[in-house]
Structure formats: structure tokens, C-alpha cells
Amino acid sequence: MIRLKLFLILILLLASTLGYAQIDYKALVRNLEDVTKDTNLKEYFEGLSSSSMNKSEGEFKDERFLRLYGVIVDDVEFESSWSGRYINIRLFNEEVDYKVLKEKFTSHLGTPVINDRYEDELEYTWSTQEKQISMYINLKDGKFLEFKESLYIKFLEE
């Protein structure tokens, strides 16, 4: 009798550590590389933790749901004006993230224009017909230290 009880307890302990049916967070992740100049942002972020999002402007800060080419994004802010849509993407200061994004942007958008005018700073700009991406980093001893400011994506009006 006591053996059975102990056995049951063991099973229960095991079950509780495995966790129980949860929300599928992975399915809710938004890949920001999919956003175009026409995306209705209100619909795009629908259902997630509330953000001040209209169909063309707003901010979203919950990094559980933000990725850019697989890299975790801290914060994303969308602005729109008569000259088009702008996206500011704040990243975490991980060197591996910088490397991944540099590689992805280059393979999707071509060679960047590199500006190394200032010591300990590097500015990359990728341009195509549709959009322009600026990435600005700070260096220390020639190596990546941090992102100097948010990643800036601008959609060009034809």
C-alpha cells in the first residue's frame, strides 16, 4: 500500500516538473523582416500584450514576440509620415546578433556602404529600391562593443 503511494507521488512529482499545457509562445512570434510598407500593424500585433499600435504607428516592447532574422529584438517603434514608413529596432548588445544581422542584410540587400569616418564607430547602410537600412555600432579595440543606436529601416515611396 505504501509502495503504491510512493510510486504515485513519484509520478506526480515528475509530472509537475514537466510542466503542463501552456500558451504556444513560439507560434506568436513576429518576424519583423516580414513587415513591409503596407503592413497593417494593428492587425499584425493583434492579440499580443497591449501596445500603443495603430495601423501605421506605434511601439511594441515585449521581446518574447519580436525577432529579426532570428535575433531577439528588445523594442520596435513604427512611425509613418508623408515620406513613408520608418522602423526603429532596438537590439540587445550581443556580438553574435550583430554578425547574424550583418550577414542577413548583406545576403538579402547587397553590399552595404560602410562609413568609418569616426574612430571606434562604424555605420553600415544597405539600400535597395524599396528600403534602406542603417546600422550604427560602437567599437572597442576594433571589436564590436554595442549598438550605438536603434537599427533604422526606412521604406522608400516610389
Binding site: 509537475s16 500558451i23 500584450s49 523594442d75 540587445f92
Partner: protein
Amino acid sequence: MKIIIILILAVSLVSCSKEYDLSKVVSPENLTALLIEMKEDKVKIDSSYVNEIEGQGLHYKGISVGKMTFSDNGLTITTDTLNYSAKKLLEELEKENGFGLFEEDEYPSDFSFSWANEKKNTKLEINLVDGKNLAKLGAKDYAKLEINYPKQYDIPLANMHQKLTEFNSKPEYELHITKQNCIYYDVFLDGVNLGNGTYSDTKKFNLNLFLLNSGKHEVKIKAIPNGSNSTVPSYIKMLVINKEDEDNIIAQKEFTFKNNQEQQLNLPFNCNIPYELEGWKKGKDLRKDSLIKKKITSLYEKVGRAVLAQDEQAINDLFYTADFETRQSTYDTGYSNSSDYWETWLKIFKSTFKYTIAQDFTIEYNSEGRLIYASPKEKLNMLVVTGKGFSDSFDFYLYQPKNSNELKIIR
């Protein structure tokens, strides 16, 4: 090895004290019941500073928590020092309540999630310990969960949101008047006087309050040129729009003055509103009522007396219909406003030591005498309630319902 496991389990069985699932505490009554249960189980409660219970079988739906502090209207749960359960708590709360309002960098917490409900407000604050960010939470991140129960009131006035209808489409109709070199006055909507023009060249009038149902309505104004500057043309323009869709003009009318004569402009329009209100439709025509002044004073007296006596039921009866129709027509259907408005009344009760009613007033008859508005001649408001350093004032639209001899507040 087996014996050790069995021994450990046996010990935990024996010393396995009672467990308390804090996720079941969803109201102040639940909290009181839990505390009684804990007291009977001789759970140690430390009341030296705040009421605190540590460990002793506390958990939130299976997630073990370290400490619980409680007060009359809520409790705070913090994660324990062995199994910092921030991630687990967050996922459990999101499973329970959906995604909440997310805030970042609100010192001293790194992140906070809040869910506001009519009966229960929940806030989870997370501090990263070994986690890097929300997408990479660690096993030791610290969480503080605060739950409080907003005060519930029995009075119907404080629970009006339960009777109000939330509509998907919320058209808000506005009358825009633009003028140049002229003045306008006697702005009427379906026979209800909305006021006069001012010095500014554009003015907006909100119409919903006096729109009782969908269908045909009409706005009328009277205008006359300034007569001062003959080189600048005098004109007036009125248009009706729905704020939800500002670019679509529902109806408009323009008039340029050719001489100095007063002009009456009528603008009929169609509107489509989702609600339908009784209002003053079936009210008595009060234009011939000789006792009207007395009735008005008597109504205001009733309100003043109710405030002074702190008579909650009387205030409820006086204001229910008017508040209902006002809130419905302006789509103010949320629960938090219900309790806010009621708490404003409670504050007025507490602060008031006298009321004064204007004795000398003029009466404006709208909608063929069915809707009246009294304006004091010398004073600012019909009814003023006063306390030390506190005052509030009231002016109402009144009507006399079909089977009654007394006036009732309708706006």
C-alpha cells in the same frame, strides 16, 4: 539509493504540511476564508510590520512561492529563494488572463504586466536575476505579484455598466460651424437649444447627447452679418460629420450674405446610431404649466436634501435614468467609470455641509416644451453644494414623465 529516496519521500509525506493555493483567492471573501483556515491550521502570521506569511505550503497553482503579505483589500506574493518562479508565474497568469498591459523599466522592477478587472486587479513585476531579457528568462528571476480587489458597491448607479450595451460601431455626431464676419445664435437640434456662437470662427457641437434614435434629424441656426467690414464677405457654413469617419461629410450647408438681414438655416441629416433612448419623447408639454417654477425648485431641493442626508438610494433614483442615457449615448460603458462616478458622489456626501438653490431663474423650453432647462439670473448655477474649501454645482435638463406630476432629471 532506493531506501534513501523512500526515506526522503516518507519524511516529506509526514512533514508534508497543508498547502494553500493562492490562485483560488479571487475576492476579499476568499481571502478572509483563507486566513481563517490558516489560523485554524496554526500557520504563523508575522504582524509586526506588515501581515506576512512565509513559505508554509504557499503556492500559486502549483508554482511554489516564498512569501505572502496581505491587507484588507489584497495580497502580495513574492517568489521564494529556492525556485525563483518569475517565468512560471508569468506563463500561468497569461494562461489565466490572456496578455496583460506590458510596461518596461519602471524602477524598481524590470518588467511589469498588469491585468485590470472589475473585481480583481493583478500586477506582476519581474526583476531579472540570472535571466538576460524577457525572451531569455532564467531560473532565478524574482517576481512580485500584487492582487487587489477594487471596492464593490451594491447601488445600481455604481453597477450601471452591467446594463449598458457595448456596441461595435460608435458613431459620434458633431456639428461644425465655420463663420466669417458674422455672428450666429439659437443653434437647435430637433428643437433642443444647443447654445450660441462665440467669437471664434469655428466651433464644434457634440450632438449625441440629444440624439435619441437613428433616422431623420435637423439642425437649425440663425445668423446675421457683422456689418462692420463691408470688404470682407460674410458667410457661414455648417456641416454634420461622424467623428469615427471624419472625411465623410453627412450633410452640409453654406450661405454667403448679400445683405444685412438675419438668415435662418436649416440642415436636415440622417444618422445611424446603434442605441435607442426614451429621453423626453413622452414628456408633458410644460409651456402651459403654471406651477413650473415651483416644480423646478422642488426638484433641486430634492437633490440638495439627498446630498446633505447622504441618502445613497435617493441619489440613485434621481440620477439613474439621466446617467444611463448620457453614458449610453457617449458609449461610456466601462466598469471603472461606474465606480469612479459613484466614488465622486461619496466624496460629495462627505464634504458637503450645505446647499443653495437659485430662486430667480429663466426657463428655456425645448422640444415643444417637453425638455426644460433653468438658468439662474444672478447666480452661476441652479444648485451649489458647499463644504469647507469644497464646492460642486448642478444644472439639469428636466422633463415631466407621462404618469407623474413631478419633474425628473434627464441630462
